[in-house]
């Protein structure tokens, strides 16, 4: 309880550090916040060209929305993923980037990674806003689903924050963490059906059948990935415009709280040694 109070009393600092990240990032650039859209747009163009045009990946038509636009389908999964990836990367380096501060001033250290989560969340919110406008123009009726989208966004933020907290601590002790994570994130992204639809995996899975003589299929293994569940629900809400699968939503919730609780616990245990270890 004492710890929660301490963190709550640091909320003003959290807001200020978040604003420092947000304001400092695009300061003195001509396009400012618009740059936050540049990366997802570039990725969208590349993946659409490669996967939809060359490889002819064809996700199911939005049901009941009737949408059939690969680029929009892609962004519904890609934007949550880029949020996760940037949050993990930024949060992971936050203690080292602020080593001077940690060694010279006493304050609740957890605000450093959390401010990075909040700053990338701010950018993400902006991107998602643009996506909702684009979906609406394309004919999807997204508005009624927005409250649930926001809830899911909060869940993903908790999930990302938990991972960022654990890795931030790990990175102080083993600086190699940063390099490992860069590679792991890349693998993780391709193992998540973001740029290709799960039905392609399903085809392979049906062909192979049960793995190693068990009844577990390849798709079952894919579905163990928490991000697969998140991306799935995001698409059900934004692209299909329907009630998400309750069990999938529950899985996301469990992962979110599980990750966050473990993250805070790990961080708290190591907080006092950080200044010395940096």
């Amino acid at each position: 309880m004492g710890y929660i109070n301490e963190v709550i009393s640091s909320r003003e600092l959290l807001v200020n550090l978040t604003m420092r990240e947000v304001k400092g990032k695009y300061k003195r650039t001509v396009f400012g916040q618009l740059w936050s859209l540049a990366n997802p747009l570039a990725a969208m163009l590349i993946y659409t060209f490669v996967f939809a045009f060359i490889f002819k990946a064809h996700p199911d038509r939005g049901n009941p929305s009737g949408l059939d636009v690969f680029a929009l389908w892609l962004l519904c999964g890609l934007l949550p993923w880029t949020f996760l990836a940037t949050t993990i990367n930024a949060g992971l380096g936050s203690l080292i980037a602020n080593a001077g501060l940690v060694q010279k001033v006493y304050f609740s250290r957890i605000v450093l990674p959390l401010s990075n989560v909040a700053a990338s969340g701010y950018n993400w919110l902006f991107e998602m806003g643009v996506l909702v406008v684009a979906l609406s123009i394309a004919g999807a009726f997204v508005l009624p689903w927005l409250p649930l989208v926001v809830v899911l966004m909060v869940l993903l933020a908790l999930f990302a924050a938990g991972i960022a907290l654990m890795l931030a601590v790990a990175n102080v002790y083993f600086r190699d963490t940063q390099n490992f994570v860069g590679i792991l994130l890349q693998i993780w992204m391709y193992l998540t059906p973001i740029i290709y639809p799960l039905n392609l995996v399903q085809d392979q899975s049906d062909r192979i059948g049960g793995l190693f003589g068990t009844s577990i299929t390849l798709v079952d293994v894919f579905r163990l990935n928490p991000m697969e569940n998140f991306v799935d629900v995001f698409r059900q809400l934004l692209y299909d415009n329907r009630w998400p699968n309750a069990s999938t939503f529950l899985v996301c919730t469990l992962w979110a709280f599980g990750s966050f609780i473990v993250g805070v616990w790990v961080f708290r245990r190591n907080e006092k040694n950080l200044a010395e270890a940096l």
């Binding site: 003003e12 600092l13 602020n98 501060l101 001033v105 200044a275």
Partner: protein
């Protein structure tokens, strides 16, 4: 009531058997100005970090009565691209002040720093002296009961150093406690009532300022102790 800062054993470094501080134990009376002296690497900064809860001693204890603020480095957490004004609020909240408090003290902070004309400029355009002045002004406005200061006074021009000295005297007159590290024996002599001399992480002498300084200076010339 006395402010009791008893550090039995200090923090240990990464080396298995290196104690940055060992058997350092003393008390600082409330309302006094206390100087820490000793050569480089003797553990003064480490001791101050323990006092300000940045490091935690592996054994031993530290008790402080009242709100403690530390000034180990000025301008920690300044963001180069942000203006002086934005940085005052940012730095204030890092040091534990609420937005309301900073707003109240804003004019006082700017006034003391003497950088009024540049307050809306990004701090990266500041000279290093101005940077230090602004950082110091924010830190001093925290209004703690106990102020812990590491060698930061050495920076800034003579005029600013004099201003700081005045501020410390104000502090002292208001019944606050100041613990400071300085390499200027004149400063310690002028400002401190008591002093402690550290050498290789051990307490050599503690007591009235003048004899402690004498002993320290004496050891430097003779090369003994």
């Amino acid at each position: 009531m006395t402010l009791k800062a008893a550090i039995m054993r200090g923090k240990r470094s990464v080396y298995e058997d290196f104690w940055a501080l060992d058997e350092v134990s003393f008390e600082v009376p409330v309302g006094s100005t206390f100087g820490l002296i000793g050569s480089n690497g003797s553990g003064k900064s480490t001791l101050l970090k323990c006092l300000s809860k940045i490091y935690y001693p592996e054994s031993g204890s530290i008790s402080a009565y009242g709100k403690l603020a530390a000034l180990l480095e000025v301008g920690s957490g300044f963001h180069h691209e942000l203006s002086g004004r934005e940085n005052i609020f940012l730095n204030g909240s890092i040091l534990g002040m609420s937005k309301k408090e900073v707003t109240q003290k804003f004019d006082e902070i700017v006034d003391f720093s003497g950088v009024e004309h540049f307050i809306d400029q990004p701090v990266k355009n500041y000279s290093s002296g101005m940077y230090v002045r602004l950082g110091f002004s924010v830190a001093i406005s925290v209004a703690p009961d106990i102020l812990v200061v590491d060698e930061v006074l050495a920076v800034g021009d003579a005029e600013f150093q004099e201003k700081c000295r005045q501020k410390f005297i104000e502090f002292k007159n208001a019944g606050k406690t100041v613990i400071l590290v300085s390499h200027s024996m004149d400063t310690v002599q002028q400002m401190c009532d008591k002093a402690a001399w550290l050498k290789n992480g051990r307490l050599v002498q503690v007591g009235e300022a003048a004899p402690t300084i004498q002993a320290y200076l004496g050891s430097l010339t003779t090369g003994s102790v």
